[in-house]
């Protein structure tokens, strides 16, 4: 498979930069003290649509040919990719068709509509999702933009690490959460090109640990019945991303939900920022394996901030 080159990723960044925020790196002395390391959090919770997904969607839409653009884009997602694709399409002046399960939360539907996406409801199961998507694509001629198993999406997500490296910090390790693997794959590629000695390490919920098991087994093992508070990481690892990860990721560490919630609380309390549970997974993994990261400079990507405030897990 042909992975995006550094020049491709740089071009992607140039292509999408007027559609995204350049998000800040933030640090907390208190968390550094607890971790025994110097951590720089890349705040993609402040990104457009509240998540790094804005990057991949903007890149995929921007790369469509003029013919393709006429028919718009389609996807199935009830999460951040749905909102990101709807927004990217609207900004480009083209239609977007978002297949969502009929039981998706009202707030998610509202977000997609707010960004100008057209929602097509389906029964809440994978088969209905895929068949409905196929129908939509057949009827409209829209281009299907997969949430993570799409090389242009991965190329877009890779721009996040590009901005981190542009800050001039000599990271010993860069950490990201892994669900479908788009962010992790993109981060690993960029870091491989710019600093091959830097370790790229993923955090994954123990209740959705298909990437961990696939990485260990060296073959793609799909996730069945995931169960974790990190609702952004329920999906199975994508094929493209599995290949990148096997080549350029150094390790995948798992953490349980209690560890995720503890790390999430630390970020809310000490950094005063709102993140999704998924974002707390890498910090939880770091704190669980402290000795391994002592005195390192570590970049951690906080992937998004779209959380149901009425359901925060703090007691």
């Amino acid at each position: 498979m042909h992975f995006p080159s550094l020049a491709d990723i740089q071009e992607a960044h140039h292509r999408i930069q007027s559609f995204i925020h350049r998000t800040p790196l933030m640090s907390s002395e208190a968390i550094n003290k607890i971790a025994g390391a110097e951590i720089f959090f890349k705040c993609e919770n402040f990104q457009k649509v509240g998540a790094f997904k804005a990057r991949g969607a903007a890149n995929a839409v921007s790369k469509l040919g003029e013919e393709e653009k006429l028919n718009g884009v389609a996807t199935h997602s009830s999460g951040n990719h749905a909102a990101a694709l709807a927004r990217a399409a609207t900004v480009a002046g083209i239609p977007s068709y978002i297949v969502m399960p009929s039981n998706a939360p009202e707030i998610k539907k509202k977000a997609v509509k707010g960004y100008g996406g057209e929602i097509i409801e389906c029964e809440p199961n994978l088969q209905a999702r895929e068949s409905t998507l196929n129908e939509v694509v057949a009827k409209t001629g829209a281009t299907f933009i997969h949430p993570y198993d799409n090389i242009d999406v991965v190329e877009g997500q890779a721009t996040c690490a590009l901005e981190m490296w542009d800050e001039g910090i000599a990271f010993d390790t860069i950490m990201a959460p892994v669900g479908g693997g788009g962010l992790l794959g993109g981060t690993a590629l960029t870091t491989h090109y710019l600093s091959p000695n830097t370790k790229v390490i993923a955090g994954e919920p123990a209740g959705a640990d298909d990437a961990f098991r696939s990485f260990q087994a060296k073959k793609l093992i799909p996730m069945q019945g995931p169960n974790t508070i990190a609702d952004g990481l329920l999906t199975s690892l994508g094929k493209i991303n599995f290949e990148i990860i096997m080549q350029h990721v150094d390790d995948i560490l798992t953490v349980n939900d209690e560890e995720i919630i503890d790390a999430m609380r630390l970020i809310y309390e000490r950094m005063k920022i709102v993140i999704e549970p998924s974002c707390a997974v890498p910090l939880a993994a770091l704190l669980k394996n402290k000795e391994r990261f002592q005195n390192q400079k570590i970049g951690i990507i906080l992937s998004g901030g779209n959380v149901d405030l009425a359901k925060l897990p703090f007691k």
Copy 2:
């Protein structure tokens, strides 16, 4: 009364700047659209100890004479000033004595201890608080640093607006919450010196509206039985601050708790940052009086981010 001059405030900023963060201004397109104005939020929730109180405490401690320093500082507070004074004292290498009601939340006591303050408990009423403080001062010779009715504290809080003006934005209006009035008084002074035509407008909870009533009546009316979710604004307006406010504040707008919670939710959802309910009061006041602020450039001070995560008011 002699108010701090612009030079005094600038000197205070120079004096404290190695002890505080220069906090960022943040904006949200979504909130601007809702408000019909261009809002710049000064994020004092990211300040040391999680609130602007770090400024006033640092300034008051730094201005003590060498003799005074030996005996340390004392205050009565169960809120952000307690933590801020404890930290400022510890940084200066001097003791701090914090009188707190015996029923103060464990988390607040822990914060003060964590910053190196010595807690002296008292019965949970005003009389016990004042008599205990007097005993502590008599015994230790410590200097009492009032949370807001202290000119050095006000001078320190005034440095927040100094940083805002330093960003080169021509604010039409600057808004702050008002409780004891230290932040509002300092903000009004700085803004009066640097941009006398800019309006300074406070937001206040309807359930603790002594500043509003004092401002209307042109005489200081203490608060009795305050009741609001904005727990940082329960205190009565200080004498010094009342004088500054009568001279340099243009208006005080009140909002009820429902309006405060709505504005708070907007900031969590759209800006992805953690703030105390008190911080949301000025935005609530703006949104309640939208027509008055149309197309203006508005600076809003988000005063702090120390909130009990288990008790967030979102449903």
